[in-house]
């Protein structure tokens, strides 16, 4: 299953009948005037390219050989006009098609991003982030390139060859036949070469990424490498990778080095024939020097469109494979969607009820088994139990990130699938264990809770959450940048910000996954205070690790193996001397040991150097 997401193993074999090409072409539909203009432009440019040779021929024959200065001046004037016209065409063509390329990239990215926002959480939990990123960043580039420069280069190459052949036939059919016969040979050889070169080039890219990964690992793990004296062995291992990279890369460049000379040599054969046959005819007076010169020019020039054609051909397959992956992403339907006949809601204040809820991911073992409970409005529930027991899944179900595989979840009296998804999610406030902040200022991050909140309201929320003091201790206070993913803030600070953010949203239900990592005592107290602000008057679900949280909860549910194994308040559960008792005493010990900083050493202090 992992392999399908492995960038290195991605397949380039495409079924052209799958309609992917047609679908790709449809992306051009809104831009058909530009595309048409560009194609007409490139065809004219390509016509003029071929026409120069005809002009040159006439300059030689009618001007120079005939020693006719006025005619020659006229021809040169024509030449200049054609150059000007072609330059204008050339400019327009680069301008239009380059711009269109950027436009398409923009469109594809926008469309993908938009689509991604609607996909369900389940999609993201089973698809590696890197895979999705590659679709949006690199595949869209390849698609746009194929649709713009790919199409244009093809049109240019085909028309250029055709016009050249057309003029050659007009100039001298017998000589033209020699060229026409050599053309397929050159095209065939070119295609073969290009495909091979591209293959090795891609292989070398793969080898390169393996090599980089190995280097990366060796730098990250350098402490172990040194301690275990693995340097020599690691270098040997690396050499295997670098040799592989060398071989693939070398093959690619060697083939490239052979390629052009090879088709030049093939063209040399037709040149020899032309010179020989043409020479005879010139001597016999059948053709002029100008015609001979024109043929020589054509043969030399025709190599360029052939090369371009072969290059586009080699890269096309990969670009189409990219499109196929992008389309497969676009075709992905969100698993959780709004039902019909929705009940609009202003508030989710009310009881929360799970009735016989079971849940499993795809066809796996059930993670939640026949879970039933009823929480009256305003109560606080603490979920405790070992990791992997199903606590997170329960809150994910409650937030409707997932929906039950069977059973019903009721909020305020109705099956929650009757509500609009957006309403549920915006009425439930969530604080995650590892709070996620977005890069930008603290203010931006707080405002995420309610987009139309005023600066006063933001500060108010921060004060309530106990975040105001540390925020104002920053140089720029609320405008302080939090860094990528909020990395400039400590875990505790991030948590305070995310609590304030949730407060600002004024949710009806509050869900929190308490952090396991220890924060300093002061911050911890602030977090507790902030949580109480959020919990008051709201139905709250806390995945609890802090004893104070657990003890003050109205209801404690011990979750193991997807089921509730114990339920009650602190006192009753303690008296039971069951699972809860064990968990509690262990946690108690741990907390106090941490509190007194007994053996505090969370990280090796060498890195502090």
């Amino acid at each position: 299953m992992l392999n399908q997401y492995n960038e290195e193993e991605l397949d380039d074999v495409v079924d052209l009948k799958s309609g992917v090409v047609g679908r790709l072409m449809r992306a051009l539909k809104p831009y058909w005037p530009q595309m048409l203009l560009a194609i007409i432009g490139i065809a004219s440019v390509s016509y003029m390219d071929a026409y120069y040779t005809v002009l040159n021929k006439r300059i030689i024959d009618e001007g120079i050989v005939a020693r006719n200065l006025p005619v020659m001046i006229g021809l040169f004037r024509n030449y200049a006009v054609v150059v000007l016209a072609q330059t204008v065409g050339f400019f327009l063509m680069i301008f239009i098609i380059g711009r269109l390329g950027e436009q398409l990239r923009y469109d594809f990215r926008k469309k993908l991003f938009h689509h991604l926002q609607n996909l369900s959480l389940s999609y993201f939990s089973k698809t590696p982030l890197g895979w999705i990123m590659s679709r949006v960043t690199s595949d869209t580039e390849k698609m746009a390139d194929l649709l713009t420069w790919g199409v244009l280069d093809t049109v240019w190459a085909v028309t250029n060859i055709s016009f050249a052949v057309f003029f050659m036939l007009q100039l001298n059919a017998a000589l033209a036949v020699i060229v026409i016969i050599s053309l397929p040979v050159m095209i065939f050889v070119s295609f073969k070469f290009r495909v091979k070169i591209y293959h090795h080039y891609r292989q070398s890219r793969k080898a390169n990424s393996k090599m980089t990964a190995s280097l990366n690992e060796n730098i990250t793990g350098v402490r172990i490498v040194k301690a275990l004296r693995r340097e020599a062995k690691n270098l040997d291992d690396f050499k295997v990778l670098s040799t592989n990279m060398y071989q693939e890369s070398y093959r690619a460049v060697l083939l490239s080095a052979i390629y052009l000379p090879t088709i030049q040599t093939i063209s040399a054969i037709s040149l020899v024939l032309i010179l020989w046959r043409g020479g005879l005819q010139v001597a016999g007076g059948a053709i002029t020097i100008g015609v001979l010169q024109a043929f020589i020019s054509y043969i030399m020039m025709i190599l360029w469109p052939i090369q371009d054609l072969a290059r586009v051909y080699a890269e096309m397959q990969n670009a189409i494979a990219s499109s196929e992956r992008v389309f497969s992403l676009l075709d992905m339907q969100p698993e959780i969607r709004n039902r019909e006949n929705l009940l609009p809601v202003d508030s989710l204040a009310g009881d929360v009820e799970f009735e016989d809820v079971s849940f499993h991911y795809e066809d796996d073992e059930p993670v939640i088994k026949n879970l039933s409970f009823h929480i009256p409005q305003g109560q606080t529930v603490a979920l405790v139990g070992t990791t992997g027991g199903g606590k997170t899944t329960i809150v994910n179900l409650l937030c409707r990130f997932y929906e039950p595989s069977s059973g019903v979840i009721r909020i305020a009296g109705h099956d929650y699938t009757q509500y609009p998804l957006e309403d549920i999610q915006s009425r439930i406030g969530v604080v995650l264990q590892v709070p996620h902040l977005f890069s930008g200022s603290i203010r931006d991050n707080l405002r995420y809770g309610r987009l139309d909140a005023s600066d006063e309201e933001i500060e108010q929320a921060a004060k309530l959450a106990g975040a105001h003091d540390f925020i104002t201790s920053f140089e720029k206070a609320y405008d302080q940048d939090v860094g990528e993913g909020g990395n400039q803030l400590s875990v505790g600070q991030k948590q305070l910000v995310s609590i304030a953010r949730a407060l600002l949203a004024e949710p009806d239900i509050f869900v929190m996954d308490e952090a396991t990592s220890s924060v300093d005592t002061l911050t911890e107290a602030l977090i507790q205070k902030g949580m109480h602000q959020l919990m008051s008057g709201r139905t709250s679900f806390i995945i609890a690790h802090r004893l104070s949280t657990i003890k003050s909860a109205d209801l404690i549910m011990v979750i193991e193996d997807g089921q509730i194994i114990e339920k009650g308040n602190h006192k009753s559960l303690m008296r039971n001397k069951g699972h809860y008792y064990n968990l509690y005493t262990k946690q108690f010990r741990h907390d106090l040991e941490t509190k007194y900083d007994l053996f505090a050493d969370q990280e090796p202090d060498a890195s502090a150097a």
Binding site: N6, G63, L129, K226, L228, P604
Partner: protein, 608 residues
């Protein structure tokens, strides 16, 4: 190229780094391939000659045909000569390109290998001060920039210059005035091209940077998908992304605009020259100053004189980039490697493990002592527990033993001999380290266990070690057993499991001295007991330094060192320290207080 021996001649790094001129350094990087590169240059010249010769020959061919008329065998011979010149040109181009690429690929492969080894042999402190991404960038993309320099730019500049000179000479032989007239625009085109490519590379960088912004934005959005959904902020996110996306669109258009301007503009200038020169030449033919054949030669040569200049700007800009890349690489290369083998004392066989710290001080930076006048001694096989808060110097102390760092003042004696007299290589072979959460490599579990065991190990031996480290059952639980891959492509192990793998590995290595971080992060009781047993068997008969996290390991230690701000504040056995006022007694008391607090708590619940 046999597989047994090194596929290349080693680099002469002192010469590379010792050269004053960067281009000279790059030349030394090609050591062993200088001949190939020269051959490449010779063929480059040959190709240019052949190409020029082709046009000159075409001219004489036409003149002869016009004047005396070529017939029969002479014509055939001429046609064949012409074809041979093209073939020679093609062959020479191939040879030149082949040799240049051969040099480039081989030189850079050697440089990559060298850098890999160099980086892993850089000192510990170098690594703690540098960023992985930055080192990686220098060892990969900067090296690739050099590869392109060897293969494309150096040769490309040579090619263009050579073609220009030879074509110019050939034209000058036909008519000097015509030749001079034909290069009027060259300085203009060259100047425009340099300015353009310089600006283009800036615009391209901006475009790429915006691409990175967009990628970051996307990544944040995807990794924060739960937050986005929790606040139902999809529209807001779309708007935000669109802003950056539109900015990239704008930069792309700007970039495109520059292309759309440069190429046609340079086209016009070059075409003007072409038309002018051709017209000039054509009138000369009409006036009888030049022959028709000369005109046709000239016509062909002119293209090679003018058009390639447009690309010269790009090559020059790229060359300056290659020099920057080399500068970045040479900074890494200049950093000194750790000397692994230098030793003035080499014991016979293994060490015993008696250790003495004699007034040891250590500082990472000047004036800030991390260890301050530390003195203590322990016998072979004893257990030394290190206690103290974060930053008190415990880890720094154990880092001195394998000579990851050397003492700033004082001395450490191992079996009575100064530690600095042993080679690092030897010391590290005698010391085993089990970290709190060891770094594992993305290879199989088996390879991770045998990582750094410098001998052949049988499967039985591996399994025995794994059993002793209480990890065997866990491993068998994986689908592929010992062949299961660790990391992104395989299983993710918990901190405790990683630690037990490291214990198994250390058992196989069988070192005389052990450095141990004895924390057991959240594992259940049963596993904790197993790990405890595994650690005990590991410590058996080895001098052990424990960075202590639990009271058990302290109570049984032969020597307890209590650290505060780099100094030993208390030292002795458990019983002794317990009877002193100080940190140790405080800690112990707290432990006792926790027990009674817990009991109180339980009693309170019971009583209500």
């Amino acid at each position: 190229m046999s597989k047994q021996k090194e596929p290349y001649i080693p680099l002469d790094m002192p010469r590379v780094l010792g050269s004053k001129n960067k281009l000279l350094s790059l030349w030394h990087l090609m050591r062993g391939y200088h001949f190939h590169y020269l051959v490449s240059t010779v063929f480059l010249a040959l190709a240019a000659f052949a190409r020029t010769g082709m046009y000159v020959f075409l001219g004489t061919f036409i003149d002869r045909m016009m004047n005396e008329g070529l017939m029969g065998p002479e014509l055939t011979l001429s046609a064949l000569t012409f074809g041979s010149l093209i073939a020679l040109q093609a062959l020479s181009s191939f040879m030149s390109s082949w040799m240049a690429n051969f040099t480039a690929e081989n030189s850079t492969r050697r440089l990559r290998d060298y850098l890999f080894d160099h980086i892993q042999r850089l000192s510990y402190s170098y690594h703690s001060e540098s960023k992985t991404g930055d080192l990686l960038e220098r060892a990969t993309s900067d090296v690739d920039t050099l590869r392109r320099f060897f293969a494309e730019q150096a040769i490309g500049v040579g090619r263009i210059v050579m073609i220009f000179i030879i074509s110019f000479i050939a034209i000058a032989r036909i008519n000097l005035r015509l030749a001079l007239f034909s290069i009027i625009i060259i300085p203009i085109v060259l100047a425009i091209s340099i300015v353009f490519f310089k600006r283009l590379s800036k615009a391209y960088e901006a475009y790429q940077e915006q691409g990175a912004v967009l990628t970051t934005d996307l990544q944040e959005n995807l990794s924060g998908v739960r937050v986005v959904k929790a606040f139902a902020r999809q529209d807001y996110e779309i708007e935000k992304f669109d802003k950056e996306n539109a900015e990239k669109f704008r930069l792309g258009r700007k970039f495109n605009w520059m292309h759309a301007l440069f190429w046609p503009l340079s086209d016009i200038i070059c075409s003007a020259q072409t038309i002018g020169s051709n017209f000039y030449a054509a009138t000369m033919v009409i006036n009888g100053v030049m022959t028709l054949g000369d005109f046709i030669s000239f016509h062909g040569l002119l293209g090679w004189l003018i058009w390639p200049i447009r690309n010269l700007g790009r090559l020059i800009i790229d060359t300056s980039r290659a020099l920057v890349s080399f500068g970045r690489i040479s900074v890494v290369l200049q950093a000194p490697e750790e000397d692994m083998t230098a030793a003035t004392y080499q014991p016979e066989g293994a060490i015993k493990g008696q250790i003495c710290f004699d007034q040891v001080s250590f500082a990472y930076e000047k004036d800030y002592l991390v260890l301050d006048d530390v003195s203590f001694a322990c016998e072979a096989g004893q257990v030394v527990a290190l206690l103290g808060s974060t930053g008190s110097g415990k880890t720094s102390l154990v880092n001195l033993l394998p000579r990851f760092y050397d003492v700033t003042s004082g001395q450490i004696l191992l079996d009575g001999v100064n530690l600095n007299e042993y080679s690092r290589e030897f010391l590290r072979s005698q010391i085993g380290i089990v970290e709190q959460e060891p770094f594992l490599f993305s290879c199989s579990i088996r390879d991770n266990i045998t990582y750094g065991v410098h001998r052949e190990v049988s499967q039985e031996e591996i399994e025995e070690a794994a059993r002793e480290a209480a990890i065997h059952e866990v491993i068998l639980g994986f689908k592929n057993g010992y062949d299961t891959l660790v990391g992104e492509r395989g299983v993710t192990l918990s901190g405790g499991q990683k630690q037990r793998l490291a214990i198994a590995r250390t058992l196989l290595i069988n070192p005389r001295i052990l450095i141990l971080d004895d924390s057991t992060s959240s594992v259940d009781m049963e596993t904790e007991v197993q790990i405890r047993a595994a650690l005990d068997s590991l410590m058996n008969n080895r001098t052990t330094f424990i960075i202590a996290h639990r009271i058990q390991s302290i109570m049984n230690a032969d020597l307890i060192l209590v650290f505060d701000k780099g100094k030993i504040v208390q030292m002795g056995e458990h019983e002794v320290l317990l009877n002193q006022d100080g940190i140790y007694k405080d800690i112990y008391d707290i432990q006792a207080r926790i027990d009674s607090a817990l009991q109180e708590e339980i009693d309170r619940v019971e009583s209500i």
